[in-house]
Symmetry: C2
Subunit: 460 residues, 2 copies
């Protein structure tokens, strides 16, 4: 029989990785909760009709479809079958698909529960999503998203709180050098307007979003190739070259956008956002207006964010923005909201490369008991019962193996303490208590050992 | 546009349900950890070859298959297509499927990582599984399993610890009246042997497993219909009528099974298991030998368990057993282990029907600030910053809505306290602090409010 394998782009998470991932998830959850967000989980499978057409043609291709159960071909006629037309046959053999992101299921949930939800509704959602992308380093077919959204209010306080949550979440994880880039889709629309290309902001955004990667000249060439007026390109270049502090940038924007209603509104929103933020202590984030930040196009209509860890080669680890019509796709118009997402896999990689995971994270068992023989095992059971009654994570090695084997088991599982029990210990009531990292061992009563263990329980 | 819907047999979990489910999951996780179990998560999709043939023909039909991406028909010839033979075409259009349980993926993980794992390996795994069963009350197509297994040791200490974990887990959830039924597959084999029907324990188990539901006569008829010798039925009936305390049952078994090696070993295992358990305090469980407990057949070879909540109409909420060859299906023989599973959906329903969920579970925000107008909102921001610095979950209502609307928002979100801020509060520095449940309100400084809140934070 051949060795089993995992589907491409998917992963097992063993104990060590799970401990680290749980630390990230728990930290982020704690921040979401502190800001009043409530949890939501939606099913892995959604009806195909809910997902199709929400992610563009390319996205639709990357959705994993689930075959109907039973005789899945029964709705397909022989005539259709013989065409071999996979696209046409698909809706007859598949009605469900795997969640592609958390935003569309959230929109569906809001629409289906609009009468029960009290708005503004702050929800967070931490679940895996699936995309049939070509797997590569750092890109998986199954990966987790951590989303938080507020819907039902246009208050820019919500944007400010997203900045605060990003700052607090990453700081709590130990990431201290990062930049939150902020822009506003109305400013981008204003730029297009100022350049005489109102309505072309889609094309313009796609091009200027690449400025960091391909440089000014290549961006200009792309704009020309997309039929943007050469006069417009000069104006756009001025926007791309805005430099200085945030207030200097706002002043330059005010000058450049003075004739654009969109632009003026976008600037006002940015100013209000910064005013809200000013009431709070920022722990580590550098907050920076970036007039070239576009974040694709899709549904954003106001503030947009993106977070980069400085001095680490890694794409953005968090991002989001405001949308005015999230649930319109399901027939419920005018639901405004703002949301963002932590990229957990990238955060994990950043933390690993910066050595930010504590060694004590992986301690699942605080103390192991090693018994020399069967009578010692019987004695050890009473010891184990006492330790567990105090809530201390503990185990008795289940076999009477050689002491060396038992110790190496404790070592490989990262168990910090071992209690050794043989005939000596039974007769004196003084147990051998060993700290594996230092090799130090002492003879102690069970009560003394419990006291020591309670003082050393890691914070988990 | 039509209202979106959920696939049959799947569910959204909104904030209230999530709070309750998290309480169950966190409690169970805490118990697993205390007993030295480590977390594992495996991918949602497994290769179809890993899953097929592991759950019987009926099980295979209930596996959700995932369509290959791209032109999924490209491996199917026109000749095959025109046959319309869904079963034959399946392997050419689908290579992956959704996890059907947590046991087979665990076995796959052990085989793939056998060189890195230090045995005995204690793992727990809490993840959803999918089955294309006909949905009905209490049966879903997506549901969570909570498994814990120890592999790599045949020590009956592991069985004893499963009993202890069930006792502690259910007790911590507030379930106090439940019975852990225990039997041993070797005793069942011994019964078949004693009845002169060794090798027929499959048929015999399926029949006697129904004793509770259909009664003795119907069980006997089923046995006859399955060609079990009429003489054998008398012997089997004696087993089914074993009554009394656990030690009385063991004595009767010893008499009935004195000529069966299987039976003698099974009884010895039960005695050793009870000896292990005797070293620990059982909090609430009634532990009962049940000679009719069979738990299907599949891979169990030793001790088997099942847990019933007494005086609640609900199937078993937990169960498991020992297996001798879990990983044999993947070419790694002789890996013995024992495991069990908590049925979370049923536990949820039991807890709901017994009213065991605390009201404070759903408190996501400890205090909300309601501002009367824009200047009050500005002042409130400073207040919010101070409260959050103390780690208190809090929010400022994001709009300047009427006070009535703000209060009803806090109420519907289950927020226990509200701070009201208007011009009075700003000028005196004494804020109005209101307890919503009682309507009591007092004027306090922000420091006094923080002290009060810190004293009342629910344990989460």
């Amino acid at each position: 029989m051949s060795t089993p394998s995992l589907p491409q782009g998917t992963r097992d998470f063993g104990p060590e990785k799970m401990a680290r991932r749980s630390f990230i998830f728990d930290t982020i959850k704690g921040v979401f909760k502190k800001f009043g967000f409530q949890p939501l989980e939606t099913p892995t499978m959604e009806n195909l009709s809910v997902l199709t057409g929400k992610y563009g043609d390319e996205g639709d291709k990357l959705i994993f479809k689930v075959l109907n159960t039973g005789d899945y071909l029964k709705q397909v006629t022989p005539e259709e079958l013989i065409t071999g037309d996979a696209k046409k046959i698909l809706p007859k053999i598949s009605e469900k698909a795997l969640r592609y992101d958390l935003t569309v299921p959230f929109a569906r949930y809001v629409v289906m529960n609009k009468n029960e939800i009290t708005f503004p509704f702050k929800r967070y959602q931490i679940q895996p999503v699936w995309r049939a992308d070509k797997p590569q380093r750092g890109r998986y077919r199954e990966f987790y998203q951590c989303d938080a959204d507020v819907v039902g209010t246009d208050s820019l306080l919500c944007e400010a709180e997203i900045v605060l949550m990003i700052d607090e979440g990453l700081s709590k994880l130990g990431i201290t050098d990062f930049t939150i880039k902020i822009n506003n889709r109305k400013i981008l629309a204003g730029m297009a307007e100022a350049a005489g290309e109102l309505g072309q902001e889609g094309i313009i955004c796609v091009a200027i979003d690449k400025l960091d990667k391909i440089g000014q000249e290549a961006v200009n060439n792309e704009l020309l190739a997309k039929n943007i007026n050469p006069n417009a390109i000069g104006v756009l270049e001025a926007f791309m070259n805005i430099r200085g502090s945030n207030s200097e940038k706002l002043a330059q924007l005010e000058l450049l956008l003075q004739n654009s209603d969109n632009g003026i509104r976008g600037i006002a929103e940015l100013r209000e956002l910064f005013d809200y933020i000013s009431y709070f202590n920022i722990q580590n984030a550098v907050i920076e207006i970036d007039t070239t930040l576009a974040r694709g196009l899709s549904y954003y209509t106001g503030t947009i964010f993106e977070v980069k860890v400085n001095n680490v080669s890694m794409g953005s680890i968090s991002g989001g923005g405001r949308y005015d019509n999230l649930t319109g796709i399901f027939g419920l118009p005018n639901v405004t909201g703002v949301g963002f997402s932590f990229g957990v896999d990238r955060i994990y990689d950043v933390m690993e490369s910066l050595n930010l995971f504590s060694n004590t994270l992986e301690i699942s068992t605080q103390v192991m008991i090693a018994a020399f023989d069967k009578p010692a095992e019987r004695y050890a059971l009473g010891v184990l019962a006492k330790i567990r009654e105090k809530g201390i994570s503990s185990e008795l090695y289940p076999d009477q193996s050689k002491m060396k084997k038992q110790m190496s088991f404790a070592d490989s599982k990262g168990i910090p303490y071992v209690i050794l029990i043989g005939s000596d210990e039974i007769s004196t009531g003084l147990l051998t208590f060993k700290h594996l990292a230092t090799g130090v061992q002492e003879k102690l009563t069970i009560e003394q050992i419990i006291d020591k263990l309670l003082q050393n329980v890691p914070n988990t």
